[in-house]
Symmetry: C2
Subunit: 699 residues, 2 copies
């Protein structure tokens, strides 16, 4: 048994003491500018719109009222030309991808229903026509899509298949005689489901279906299908309303089914695969698998957008909760007359500040994702490798940030008690709306497996045929310095610098190199372990191989998560370099350290079990994090102010300073009462006095 | 660096192999009987009522419609005499406390709003009159409270003070001339807030206020105050509606304020403190602190009820999600034509089965809490110590189970994808309603500090003045066998049996003694560490002392949580003894092991850092848990069926078997299509064929 240490004894040795930098002050404005990133103007313009009352939704509407209101809000977006930036110039767009998404992600602060309904119309339906169709398609349909003359659906998901798009069952069979495709949903599970604009508004849809011609199934393709005219569904089309949902009730999600619905041959969005009049199928991409992933890959924008929106929702929540936490007083601590402000409690810091640190990490990571996205879609850097990096990065970051937003909204709700539960403070509605972000545009658990698949593929490329001895030597060589260059994916690397060395004391924990190496080492080691296990599956019958894979599924997902966390940490660290103000950089470095060290603390078992941290050093971690919290605490309000959201965005009563007004009024009342001499005496005081007198009289 | 082990190498040595008990079958009915516990009849009767359509609430009502519906449902509860069991026989009750709460906790399955509104009326308002008033009060008001003639409020919480009841600011000053109390809310922060029945229905209230007489403040007491007649608020009383909330919108929460509201002297609920006509204050309990805690302590029923309700909500969610998980197929794994059932994926097991194990643990712990509650309030075992044990147990278990319910509902929502987000499957509404359970009747974070305070007090009693050497010896002596006797609180105990001994292989992990000792050791050590740190605070000036406390707040809360988890583990283990069917006991033992080992895995860093587990042994934990999951998987449906909820309680479309019908239809369609020879050929198959032919022709 290790000797039990008192908290004081557990404190860091003097050499590791954090330099007490009292001069460190956050320059809110300059930090705010860094956070706004490359497309600051687009963000600010979108925030202006999001701050309009007409773009916001009061609590308590019925779902039908909410749907109508959001539809009206979409019209305002059209009028203000806020959502057309990504479309080609020849139809009135700007060919501007990163800027468009940057602005779009800000709409979440108005109402997530508005954001997602706009996303359905322009980000999914419109994008599919743009990315999968040809110029004729663009010129024919995009103007109506952009103007909202054609509200449309992105009809991909089916009741029987969620994130597994390749397995959908809707068919589009080519009939050469009429030169038409015939769309069918052959059974109930093949109905399109959860389709935004599907229940009421959708006049057309991009329908994903297996393209069948000349007796061959060429896999999933996208087809433009008209759904409704003014009298409702066109012949052969039916559907139903998904009804009330856990959130996002401003969107009319619904189900659609097709029975022998005929569309012209030219309604196939044929960029990656076409059918000639005689029924001959052609495609520039020979492999059906690659073709499918290329098509689906063009739709990555949805994941990029959700990542950004989730980060923005987290910012809103933290600003509100931390504002309240600096005003709300509860329980007598140090003082008899004045209660403590919530943010001064260690536990309150523990609840909110790591979430704040993660929100900054996610902000920087999202900005990099947006750059990568813009690079690919502007054509600046658009190789296969770039696209794969983009998809992997989007999958990983979207998973982390959407879960993070839910955790943050919930913690902020609880940290503000009963007030947090009232609709007037918005946590609960935002959380209800964002709930589905964790599973749409790809279930997070599935997305992390996508990330893992890429990690394994990279690993295989590097180490094909290598035995473990070779691997170990390679890894040691790598460890010297792969470090912090900007790249979508990390090479597998690990470091031995930290492990075993008792002399290098806890000072190492605040060395970014140590943090990086610990985080990177974990990813690399986990991937290597899983890869080794999966090697055994090669050559086994399919069911046995699948069993081996299944036995490693949890580890694989953990590895992917660790990888995405590392990417966030790296993005944060690169973000620090963009801070010119020394005080800001100092405080934000503490925040980055908090992020990194909380990740290590979360997986402390792994680090100890695998000999990456000594027990001695591990014991310094908790106290060190607590000291970081105390150091960051005075800057908490500045940090959330740097997010730049105004009252028109927050729209939470407890973010207005109302609590401080109440607290001040209460304290002033008590002060006056005491001063007046009319205040009742506390019975406890009376008892104490009596005891003191008895004691005296006995003497 | 520790050598990297492949998953196979990491598997348990042969000696530790879990005996493959293929014969183990869960006897659903007998397990169900054990779970129903002592008050099975009351539970079943309440479930019958909860299954009535009139007691349930369709999605999409406005909050005003929902409020009206719930008020009507309360009338049905009155007619069916479902909620009066706890009241004295002389007013028509049954003096039956455990039975009453057992039934009451089942109402959550109808609609949490109904449960909580009933709780406000009978569990809080009625209980306060019962426990704090005298027989005259009972005879005067309880009949009207029981019949709902007097819908009432429990007016404790104020805008400025949530869980810190002692600091509320409403005053009740005695005026001897008129023999009346004068109630005042002196400033905005003193308004009563979040008060159920406060916005609309409440005709009277038990108002908590500082009792002031003869210039002395005797602390918080409860007063019966009439609020409204048919024309609205009575003179001097005002308020406002809290409006829409994150959930529980069937309840009219509101704010109340009082300006010189006069009530008769005899409206003081005077069981623990009284004021004579001349203004003289008397109480049987001399210490104002103890008096306050005694009064508040009588209201523990609320926490006991929330604990049980949260466990029941978790059961509903898991039955629905696991039912769906055994029907839903997604992604091709082992087979080319048949996709995998979700529950067969390791990650799906990892997501749901530990939550299921925790739900069982919480069920057994709740049953014990209910016994303790009944023992105290029936007077069977009603010492000061019993009451303190009850309060500590209720505080700890309520915290764990309400958080657990939120985690479970969320995980079930995500594990069922888009379907889980639809109102028709109920996860989202239940989660929205239960959200506030984590902070009402005491914020969970505050409640855990209450638990911690008790742990520290117990520790101080045992070890007053002891130095650390003495403590260590004591602890070794204790470790021999404190173990599994039934008691509300654990003595501080730890064991060295497990640590350091590499020889004792992973087989130890499934030994309940090992699990227990590891869990108990962690509690004991953490409490001892915090106690030692706090010892330094003695004699320091108050602000310095508060700072020391604050630096240990997080550790203290962790210790309390660990303590409550240990209590759950012990209750589960005792529960196993009540299972007569061997197969059921075998499967449930695996479930208990899963619960215990997941707790240890969650805190693996602590165990390694403190030398309680060797790295070698720690590495066996993850694979062992994965094997347990695979063993429990075939029994998952039986286990959730043992909860005994029918379709009338679940009311989730995906719990009806609908998914299986859809899957079967789809598979049958594909089978017939293949059989007909009309199925299109997959392009991938075509390519493979072509390649094979090319290869052949080249030969």
């Amino acid at each position: 048994m290790t000797q039990t240490l008192s908290p004081t004894e557990r404190q860091l040795p003097a050499s590791a003491t954090i330099r007490d930098n009292d001069a460190a002050v956050v320059d809110v404005e300059s930090l705010g500018r860094v956070l706004l990133g490359k497309w600051a103007d687009n963000r600010l313009a979108a925030r202006k719109i999001a701050g309009m009352e007409a773009m916001q939704t009061p609590a308590g509407l019925t779902y039908t009222e909410h749907r109508e209101r959001v539809m009206d809000q979409l019209k305002i977006l059209v009028e203000s030309k806020s959502v057309h930036g990504a479309f080609p110039k020849y139809v009135g767009g700007e060919d501007s991808h990163g800027a468009n998404v940057a602005g779009f992600t800000e709409l979440v602060v108005a109402d997530p229903s508005l954001q997602i309904k706009a996303g359905v119309q322009w980000g999914l339906f419109g994008s599919a026509v743009m990315h999968l169709g040809n110029r004729e398609h663009h010129e024919k349909w995009l103007p109506g899509i952009m103007s909202l003359e054609i509200p449309g659906c992105f009809a991909m998901t089916e009741t029987g298949h969620g994130s597994d798009v390749a397995s959908i069952a809707t068919t589009a069979e080519y009939d050469a005689a009429s030169e038409e495709f015939i769309i069918n949903t052959p059974f109930r599970a093949a109905w399109k489901d959860y389709i935004g604009n599907g229940a009421v508004n959708g006049k057309a849809a991009v329908v994903f279906a297996h393209l069948i011609t000349q007796g061959v199934d060429h896999g999933v393709h996208a087809f433009y299908v008209e759904l409704r005219d003014d009298n409702g569904f066109l012949p052969g089309i039916g559907g139903e309303d998904d009804g009330i949902k856990g959130g996002l009730n401003g969107i009319d999600n619904g189900r659609l089914h097709f029975s022998n619905v005929r569309i012209p041959r030219t309604n196939l969005l044929n960029k990656y695969g076409d059918v000639a009049a005689d029924g001959t199928y052609t495609s520039d991409i020979e492999s059906p698998g690659r073709r499918f992933f290329t098509m689906i890959g063009t739709l990555v924008q949805g994941r990029v957008s959700l990542d950004g929106a989730a980060v923005n929702a987290s910012k809103l929540a933290l600003k509100t909760a931390i504002q309240y936490g600096t005003e709300r007083r509860q329980f007598n601590g140090a003082s008899d007359i004045k209660e403590e402000v919530l943010m001064d409690y260690q536990q309150h810091q523990r609840r909110l500040l790591p979430l704040l640190a993660t929100t900054f990490a996610a902000t920087f990571a999202h900005e990099e994702l947006l750059h990568k996205f813009d690079d690919v879609f502007s054509g600046a850097h658009d190789t296969d490798e770039d696209r794969q990096d983009l998809e992997t990065l989007a999958a990983g970051l979207k998973s982390l940030s959407t879960w993070h937003a839910l955790d943050t909204l919930q913690e902020c709700r609880e940290a503000t008690g009963g007030a947090g539960f009232l609709a007037e403070n918005r946590f609960t509605a935002l959380r209800a709306d964002l709930d589905i972000y964790a599973t749409f545009e790809g279930d997070n658990t599935v997305l992390l497996q996508l990330v893992a698949k890429r990690l394994l593929a990279d690993y295989a490329k590097e180490f094909a045929g290598a035995d473990f001895g070779v691997l170990a030597r390679y890894v040691v060589g790598q460890a010297t310095d792969v470090t912090l260059h900007r790249t979508g994916l990390r090479r597998i690397a690990q470091s031995f610098r930290d492990s075993g060395s008792e002399k290098k004391s806890a000072i190492a924990l605040r060395d970014p190199r140590t943090q990086h190496d610990l985080l990177a080492d974990r990813v690399g080691t986990m991937v290597a372990e899983v890869a080794t296990a999966l090697k055994e599956a090669r050559g086994l019958p399919k069911d046995k191989g699948a069993a081996v894979f299944n036995e490693n599924q949890h580890a694989l997902i953990q590895a992917a998560r660790a990888h995405a966390e590392l990417l966030q940490w790296e993005a944060f660290t690169r973000g620090l370099e963009r801070m010119e103000d020394a005080g800001t950089r100092q405080v934000m470095t503490w925040v980055r350290d908090l992020f990194g060290l909380c990740l290590i603390e979360k997986n402390l078992g792994w680090y100890l079990m695998n000999g990456r941290l000594s027990a001695q050093r591990a014991r310094t971690l908790g106290p060190y994090i607590n000291r970081l919290l105390a150091k960051i605490r005075p800057h908490a309000l500045d940090l959330v102010d740097s997010f730049g959201y105004g009252q028109e965005h927050l729209r939470a009563k407890i973010a207005t300073g109302a609590e401080k007004v109440r607290q001040d009024e209460a304290m002033e009342y008590q002060r006056l009462l005491r001063a007046s001499g009319a205040a009742p005496v506390d019975e406890k005081v009376l008892i104490a006095r009596r005891k003191a007198e008895q004691k005296k009289s006995r003497k």
